[in-house]
Symmetry: C2
Subunit: 344 residues, 2 copies
């Protein structure tokens, strides 16, 4: 009806109260008589009043936006994680502002722009911000949560997957299944996750390796995707001594490998080779792959990340927290669950 948007002053006029009374009516903690509040709500309804977030932000010095910094969304695992984060953020009455920092050299300058929005917080799931940028956010009173980052910032809260544990778990599963000739595959470009996964894998194996009963090789593939897995199969399956257990740091690579393997070796031979992936992406459970893998509950990480942020908002001065989300081995057909032995 009216050409311009209704303001709290318009509502006040219609309800016959002051503007401050309108403002307080929308604050549950304010002392407002039931009758007045009722009248204000009716007037607001009638005018289609919507609060002006910009004005609110200016006063409160804090918007209800949360910056979600991500990269590489073409990876479905990341993409799924972003989805979960969005949901979690929404459920807290906050709004997700997404920022994709793919193919940027330094994400610092990009991140700097976020300070302008007086965000309630920033959750960084990709890219490696410099020490400085972290401090810049803190100085501006914007809490930062680092997810699965290598940063050892002493001011930001940190939520990590138990990547090292995932590697150990894979190694243990192979040993329990009696596999002795092991390979671990990760993308050439080192990421925090994959490096830690390999580390855990090799650490667990260390005692066995020295006994010479088991050996393990690290193989690098081009990238963290299906195609790289497809390619690397040639190298792995045509070597003189084929492995009988392969741990892939990402499910995608494993799936590419599996498809490629069908070309190269017989189903029978393939069934003797144990394969474990990591992440438990949707694809892994498809019948075409049915991949044994290490599940990282993206819901769990998302929940923990947002919860951490909320905690920080409530107690801004408490010491930075740091937690590792546990992982879980999901047996499927590429490595069968061994019969219970006394190896534990």
């Amino acid at each position: 009806m009216n050409k311009h948007t209704a303001t709290s002053a318009d509502v006040a006029a219609l309800a016959g109260v002051s503007q401050s009374t309108v403002s307080r009516s929308f604050d549950p903690n304010s002392r407002i008589s039931v009758a007045t509040r009722q009248r204000v709500f009716e007037a607001a309804e009638q005018l289609g009043y919507q609060i002006n977030k910009a004005a609110q932000t200016m006063i409160k010095k804090r918007s209800d936006l949360v910056g979600l910094v991500t990269a590489g969304l073409e990876d479905p695992f990341r993409s799924e994680f972003l989805h979960k984060l969005i949901i979690e953020v929404q459920n807290c009455g906050l709004r997700p502002m997404v920022m994709d920092v793919s193919d940027r050299e330094t994400i610092d300058e990009e991140l700097h722009g976020l300070i302008q929005y007086q965000l309630s917080g920033v959750i960084i799931t990709s890219g490696t911000p410099s020490e400085n940028i972290g401090k810049a956010f803190i100085r501006h009173g914007i809490p930062v949560v680092l997810v699965n980052r290598t940063e050892h910032s002493d001011e930001a809260d940190i939520v990590n997957l138990d990547n090292e544990g995932a590697g150990e778990m894979a190694a243990k599963a192979f040993i329990e299944s009696g596999k002795t000739n092991l390979v671990v595959v990760r993308s050439k470009k080192p990421s925090f996750s994959s490096v830690m996964r390999v580390k855990g894998f090799l650490n667990y194996l260390a005692p066995f390796l020295s006994g010479d009963k088991v050996n393990a090789t690290e193989v690098l593939c081009d990238a963290g995707n299906y195609d790289s897995g497809y390619q690397i199969a040639d190298k792995i399956l045509t070597s003189q001594h084929k492995p009988d257990g392969i741990f892939f740091c990402m499910d995608h690579i494993a799936c590419g490998f599996l498809d490629s393997a069908k070309r190269l070796v017989s189903p029978n031979e393939m069934s003797a080779i144990g394969v474990i992936g990591c992440d438990d992406i949707a694809l892994a459970s498809f019948r075409a792959y049915d991949l044994t893998t290490i599940r990282q509950s993206s819901s769990e990480i998302a929940r923990a990340s947002v919860e951490t942020l909320l905690n920080r908002l409530q107690s801004p001065t408490s010491a930075p927290s740091k937690q590792a989300i546990p992982v879980e081995l999901v047996y499927r057909s590429t490595l069968a669950k061994p019969q219970r032995t006394n190896i534990e």
Copy 2:
């Protein structure tokens, strides 16, 4: 250093100019002497000045946020599309504010909340907003772009895939390959896309059907995902007269079907059955499926959507636009490209 964030007034004081001069220095279209601007920039740099978006929004009555309304991000196609949208929005110097309206009955109330942010625009890719909500945005001066929605709003700009064309294309491909016993599968719950795809499919076939040489059946599956495709295979492949051509309205369903089919019929028999999917998701090109499908370029749609929004911002009063993005048939192994015949 300073405990509070620097404002334009602080910069002005340091540079020895007025606040308005600082403001104008950051506006390329303002007349400011080179020397002054230089001095202002230096002062800003020194103080780590960041413009306050909330204050700016209040004055300009428009933020640089764009609302991206989506749902069902567990579907990788949607998720990929969101990714593309985010990139496009960022490239225009705008910020994407994502809103997931999954599992909400009416998205209207959710959308209403967006009005508070004085968005530069809203791109709606999921859910079906009521006529009213569209009008509400328009009234508040917020342009709306509907992507692949059934809405016939006469105030919003519309970007559609050529869904009907996709259906026709699939039908034509089957006919050209000499397939006569056709099935088209879509999710039980009617979505705009799938309904139009089926419509196009059947429309193209109409003349052949009347000649009795070809027949076509519509089959509904539970949902638009892998598992539903897996399930529906039983129904389709165990019927008395098996089809020799199946068009799935979504690649996911097709992939589920293909995996399931391996259980039910021999590879030889399967090779006689043509399968066409729709969307060309990443999965479709995996060797495990190698699915012939109809490609919807998500980049193309994303680009067109954002471009449409920008056009609207430049000329707010011009008539609403409407465009259909063309699709493309990608031959892979589930339906081979027929030898050139004179059917055209």
